[in-house]
Symmetry: C2
């Protein structure tokens, strides 16, 4: 399989962690892409009309995207249980959606700050985008005692969100507001798949 | 079931069409929400930390979101075949992602034009967001001869994208650039579920 890839995308990071957890890492050839929201990758556009990473090409050439679909495909390929069972599946997919939505808002906030000309930036909008992380982290802080027991994909999505906040929004200081998540993150981040995929 | 709902959201529209196609419309109680990107709905936030519509509450109180997850849940509940089979599933989910991604970019373009103060608007950014619709419609224009045969969810996602362009971006004039999609859309829009959900 070939994965259109960037080292800084939190969505790519989730795919890489899941691939490592499922023992599929060696089957994935990484194809680096300079992801840019305005001038998109022509190489990726051939397979995915959004031109976004991550995009996976299977060995028979089928394009699979976005990260949520890729993770579910890898899970099925490996016979994993990251998406739960018939009953737990909908809660898992919904929580993963919350984490992906908070991350997408952060990526948009990052574009606002780093791509848009400074005289056109709107700080109230950046704050509204960051607020999706606040409400999502509040949700998980109130359920933090369940996290250690979970064996599905949601903790990996959560560690991507926290890691992206550290990487791009250090001033957000989530550790102070969400001490339960801080302690959980310290434990969960011992996993090799989390260590191997820290953005840099 | 209860659906947090707005008449203008293209993502809600997809859920409503799918519910009607699956014969589930009468089981869904619609709860109107004033969706706003900056001051989000407190009612929805209780169930979904993103505070977005559509959010579905099942009869036993479970929250399911976003539109993709809701549609798949409804499909499974009704024993439908909108998400294909084991093999076709990944292509369907990926194409649905392209349509959702193009729609999300349009919704962001709409925020840029209608929510952001006019002196902070950046037209190059609006154009980059609209470009996701262009590449996505090119993709489907080149496959338009397959669309009439398809019985999965993708044509419903496509009609949502085209309908939202008509509703909010009439100047985009997709009919001129994509004549195959224009003809297909005229045929597909005869379906009651499409007629019943036209945004207004």
């Amino acid at each position: 399989m070939k994965l259109y890839y960037s080292t800084t995308s939190p969505f790519v990071r989730k795919v890489m962690m899941v691939a490592e957890e499922l023992g599929l890492l060696e089957q994935i050839e990484k194809e680096p892409v300079q992801a840019h929201p305005v001038s998109r990758s022509q190489a990726v556009l051939v397979s995915n009309p959004l031109g976004q990473v991550p995009t996976l090409l299977t060995d028979d050439g089928q394009a699979i995207y976005d990260s949520r679909v890729i993770c579910e495909y890898l899970n099925e390929k490996a016979g994993g249980s990251l998406f739960g069972n018939q009953d737990s599946r909908w809660g898992i997919l919904s929580e993963l959606t919350a984490l992906d939505g908070a991350l997408a808002a952060l990526v948009n906030a990052r574009y606002e700050i780093s791509v848009r000309p400074v005289e056109l930036q709107w700080l109230a909008w950046v704050d509204a985008l960051l607020d999706k992380s606040r409400t999502t982290l509040e949700y998980f802080e109130s359920r933090v005692q369940e996290l250690d027991e979970r064996t599905d994909i949601v903790p990996f999505g959560l560690v991507c969100l926290l890691g992206y906040l550290d990487f791009r929004f250090a001033h957000f200081d989530w550790r102070k507001s969400y001490p339960g998540l801080d302690a959980w993150n310290n434990r969960f981040s011992q996993r090799p798949s989390v260590q191997h995929s820290i953005p840099a």
